[in-house]
Each structure stands twice: as C-alpha cells, then as structure tokens.
C-alpha cells in the first residue's frame, strides 16, 4: 500500500474516567472511502474531533499528508487539505447558498486581509462557487439564504463547501443524517462518484449507505477499533456481528 493520507497512531483521549478513544490506530489511503461505524457512544465524534483539531488527544499522534499534525490548529489542517462536514448541519445561516460556497473558496484563495474590493463581485470567488453549487445540484438555490434551505439541501451545501478547497481528504460526519430516502440515495450517488478520486472518511449510521460506498470499514465500540476490513470481511466478522451489527443488517448487500 502507498503511504496513507491520514494515519492515527495509538490515539488515546480520556474524559474523566471514561476512555472515549482507546488506543485507536486507523488510516485512510488516497482515493479510498473509509467508513467508521459504531453504536452511539462508541467515540466516533471524539475521534473525528481529534482528527480535525477541535480536541487534543491525551497521547498518540496524527499524521496527515505526510506531516505530523497532532499539535496543529484546525485552520492549519484545513489548509493542508482536510475538509469536513458536521454531524449537525453547520452552514452560515444568514448568508445565501452561493455566499456560503464563495466563502469556502475564499478560505483557500490566500489571506483575506482585503478591505476594499466587493467580495460579491469577485469572479475568482463567485465562478468556482457557482460550479460547486451546480455539482451538488443546488444551482437553482444560489440566492436563497442558507437558513431557508431544506435540511437535505443544507447537507448538500455543506458538501459543496467542503469540496470548494479541493481537499485531499473529506471527513463526512453522518452526511445522511435526517435525510429522506430519496435525498439519501442522491447523496450516495454523489459520494460514489467521488470514489477513487478523493479520499473520504465517512462516519455514518445508515448501514445501507456504508456497505454500498465503503472500500474499507472500521468498527468502533467503547472507544476501541474492534475490527477493520472490507465490507465483506466486516459482515463476516463474528465479534462485529455480536457487538454491533445484529441480525437485521447482516443480510444487507
């Protein structure tokens, strides 16, 4: 295998007596979709938050794009090519959809200590932002304030924002959460199209989606990665079935 794009090495994070992340070592290869699954309270969000830099691990290291980023602040990791969407939709509600993506483009267009020129008339921001909205199917909603977009549209908007900087790794925290069946299927198609072109770390509850999309799956239970492998391997893993999957998803293909 090539040098992984993202690698955590024996990460540990405790909250009081609770070990939220217990010696977790995972990696994401370039171009692969790596899914992280686990029941509620398994420590998925804590792990994500350490990878993004919102929480500092107690021990262990995180390497991204060939660098040790364990102590790097969030915005610096983003500059290296780490983009994310949030579990709870996080957009700039007062801004239009196009403004949201334009700001995401701007984040990667050098510094923003520019005080005089009107950013809304800056084609270097607006043109890529329009293409980004089009790619996620929100072209017609450009001028709609993000607050008034439907939940599913806001999730699509988040993806467009995450992709705006042409990131190396896309970290998607339950992108299908709260979506209807049809919207979910659209999202699955969209993510499938990214496969092979962009590395994705996917945290998702929707097992259908995970088994359709993932190249590899890691199962997190009580802070520990109990198994890691291809969807078929995970399906066949007795420990995983017992700990997590249960009978109802075992037959899903």
């Amino acid at each position: 295998m090539a040098e992984p794009l993202l690698r955590t090495d024996r990460l540990i994070k405790r909250f009081g007596g609770l070990v939220a992340t217990d010696t977790v070592s995972i990696d994401v290869q370039p171009g692969e979709i790596h899914a992280l699954i686990g029941p509620n309270g398994a420590g998925k969000t804590t792990l994500v938050s350490q990878i993004t830099g919102n929480t500092a691990p107690d021990s262990g290291t995180i390497h991204f794009a060939g660098r040790d980023v364990t102590r790097l602040p969030t915005h610096a990791r983003v500059r290296l090519g780490l983009a994310r969407s949030f579990q709870i939709t996080s957009v700039l509600r007062e801004f239009t959809a196009l403004d949201n993506v334009a700001l995401a483009v701007q984040a990667h267009a050098g510094h923003s200590f520019r005080f005089l020129a009107d950013a809304r008339r800056d084609e270097r921001l607006r043109a890529p932002a329009r293409r980004g909205l089009e790619a996620v199917g929100l072209k017609d909603r450009s001028d709609t304030p993000a607050a008034t977009l439907s939940h599913g549209e806001q999730r699509q908007l988040e993806i467009a924002m995450a992709l705006a900087g042409d990131p190396k790794l896309l970290l998607l925290d339950e992108p299908m959460a709260g979506m209807g069946a049809e919207e979910s299927q659209h999202m699955i198609e969209f993510l499938r199209a990214l496969r092979g072109r962009r590395a994705v770390l996917l945290i998702e509850h929707d097992m259908d989606a995970v088994f359709q999309l993932a190249d590899r799956i890691t199962v997190l239970v009580y802070g520990r990665a109990i198994a890691s492998g291809t969807p078929d391997e995970i399906r066949a893993n007795a420990e995983v079935r017992q700990a997590y999957l249960g009978e109802e998803t075992a037959g899903t293909a």
Binding site: V78, R79, R93, E94, F95, R114, L116, A119, D122
Partner: protein, 329 residues
C-alpha cells in the same frame, strides 16, 4: 455610484441622503438662524457617530460586544493632550500618534480579550477600559480627575480648528471617510470573514479561516477609528478628562449602535443623532408637562430603549424598511 443613485429611489436612501445633506450644510443653517449652540451639538453628534461606526465594525459586523470602546476616546484624546501640554502642538504629529496609540492599545486588548467569549469578553474589555480610566485619573501632571484644558491641534496654513465651522466640516468629512471605509469593509473579503465568524465561527474555522487573527485585525482597526474620534473630541472642547472614557460613555456608545441598528452602515449615525437629540430636547419637552420633570428624562428614555430592543431589533434603521437586496452574481 450607480448603486448609490439607485438607492436614492428608496425612502431609506432618500432619508439618508437628506440627513447627509443637512449635516453637510449645518454650519450654514446654524449661522443663518443664529443658533450657534446647535452647531456644537452637531459637532458632538458627528464625532460620536465616528466612534459609533467604529464600534459597529466589531459589535455589529463581528458580533463582539466590547464594553470598553470609550477607552479609545481617552487614548486618542490624551495623546493630543499630553503632547500639547509638552509643547508639541502640531496636529501632523499629534493625530498619527493618537491613532497609532489607539490601534496599539486595541491590538493588545484584543489579543487578550478575543480568546474569551460572551460575558467574559464584555468584562475583560470593560476591565481594560477601567484600567486606562484610572491611569488617566491618576496622572497628576495632566489634571488627574479634574482633566486638563489643552490648546487645539495646529495645522498651520491648512485649517484653524478654533474656527467652529471649519472644525465641524473637518469632523463631517472624517465621518464620511469613516462611513466610506465601513461600507467597503463590510462587503470586502475581510468583512465576509468577520460576518461569517459572527454567524458561525466553528464553521469558519472548519473552512480554514484563522478566525482569531481576523477578529484581532477588526478590533485594531475599530480602535484606530475610535482613537480618531477621541482626537476630535479633545479638540472640540479643548479639554481632556478621564470622564471621556468612563464606562458610562462605553455604555452610551453601545446604546447608540443598538438604537441605530447593529450591523447597518448608517445605523450608528441615526443612533447618534437620536441619542443626542433626545438628551437635548427631551428634558425641555418634559418641563412643559410640569416643573422639573425634565430632570427625569431618562425615565422616558429608558423605556424607549426597551421598546426598541423588544420591537425594533434592527434599531432605527429597520424602521426605514427592508435593506436593499444583496447583490449576487
């Protein structure tokens, strides 16, 4: 320019234009009607409007409730006063020193206070302002508590600040410059980052913006314009005192911005006009109702503020109708 002309077609635009024209010719009006006193109120309104616009840059666009903005009145004013008391009267020296001192102080306060949020931020900005207030009150050489009469900044062969009309026009031109900068600032890349961080700073960080740096820059710029207002205030009365940076003045500035409309371009100007007009004309108006009622004008003013806070959250600006649609393209 085209945008400006188009905005004249709305009631809001017309009213704004009317206010600006009235302010521009105010010295002529007060002279024609022999109401010199009104010019001094007008001068204070314009100076306070500059300070309120500068506070609005961080409060309105940045969502950062700084409760110590009057400190920049003090820093700018004392820079002029201290230099002047030491025989350095040139405005070409005093003014840059005052503005740079205010910016430097803002950068220092911002570097510490912007690491906190909410009530903590309010308290820290207040604490730093009180610190400077007590330093000013302790400066025996510069009048301590009583303040100090100073001579006005000198700009030989350019402008004589002792002339009330010239001084007023200078303040007005500087207000226009401040408004112009604020308008550019609000729609610039920088302004977008600042407003985005107000809306959702977690998201802005996740997009890759070092939000702290942008807030610090905004805080510093805001302090620099606040210092300019302080320089003008010192020159207006040829007087400096710690009272110009008391927490009450900081509170007044917040009231002006909220009253006028946070995060709007002209809101702080409307707020300053309304604030001083009420302060000036409410007492005599109440006196008509009964002897000495005017002394209690704040009993009327307070509930007015509460009503604005409850029912007109966008301040006076929101009473003028919807803002023009944002330009998208």
């Amino acid at each position: 320019m085209a945008v400006f002309l188009a905005s004249l077609r709305t009631p809001r635009g017309l009213l704004t234009a009317l206010v600006l024209v009235l302010l521009a010719v105010l010295p002529l009006l007060t002279q024609a009607f022999d109401q010199r006193y009104l010019l001094s109120i007008g001068t204070r309104i314009v100076i306070w409007a500059i300070a309120a616009v500068s506070l609005n840059m961080i409060l309105g666009y940045g969502g950062l409730v700084s409760f110590g903005h009057a400190v920049f009145f003090g820093v700018g004013g004392y820079a002029v006063g201290i230099l002047s008391a030491n025989g350095l009267h040139s405005g070409w020296l005093q003014w840059p020193v005052g503005i740079l001192a205010a910016a430097a102080w803002a950068a220092l306060v911002g570097a510490l206070s912007l690491r906190t949020r909410g009530v903590y931020f309010i308290m820290i900005t207040l604490a730093f302002a009180q610190l400077v207030y007590y330093v000013g009150a302790g400066l025996e050489a510069y009048g301590a508590d009583d303040g100090l009469n100073i001579s006005r900044s000198r700009f030989p062969d350019v402008i004589d600040l002792r002339d009330k009309a010239s001084f007023y026009w200078l303040c007005f031109v500087l207000l226009c410059g401040t408004l112009w900068f604020c308008q550019r600032f609000a729609t610039s890349r920088f302004g977008f980052v600042l407003r985005g961080a107000k809306s959702n700073d977690l998201r802005m960080t996740a997009l890759g913006f070092p939000v702290f740096h942008y807030r610090l820059a905004a805080f510093t710029i805001s302090g620099a314009f606040g210092g300019l207002a302080g320089i003008l205030l010192a020159n207006e009365g040829a007087y400096i005192s710690p009272a110009m940076m008391s927490w009450i003045k900081s509170g007044d500035l917040i009231i002006i911005v909220v009253l006028g409309g946070m995060g709007t371009l002209f809101g702080p100007l409307y707020g300053a006009i309304a604030f001083f007009a009420l302060e000036e004309f409410l007492p005599p108006l109440l006196d008509l109702g009964g002897k000495d009622w005017g002394e209690y004008w704040q009993i009327v003013f307070g509930p007015m503020l509460i009503l604005i806070a409850l029912y007109a959250r966008g301040g006076i600006d929101s009473l003028l109708g919807r803002t023009q649609a944002h330009h998208n393209g």
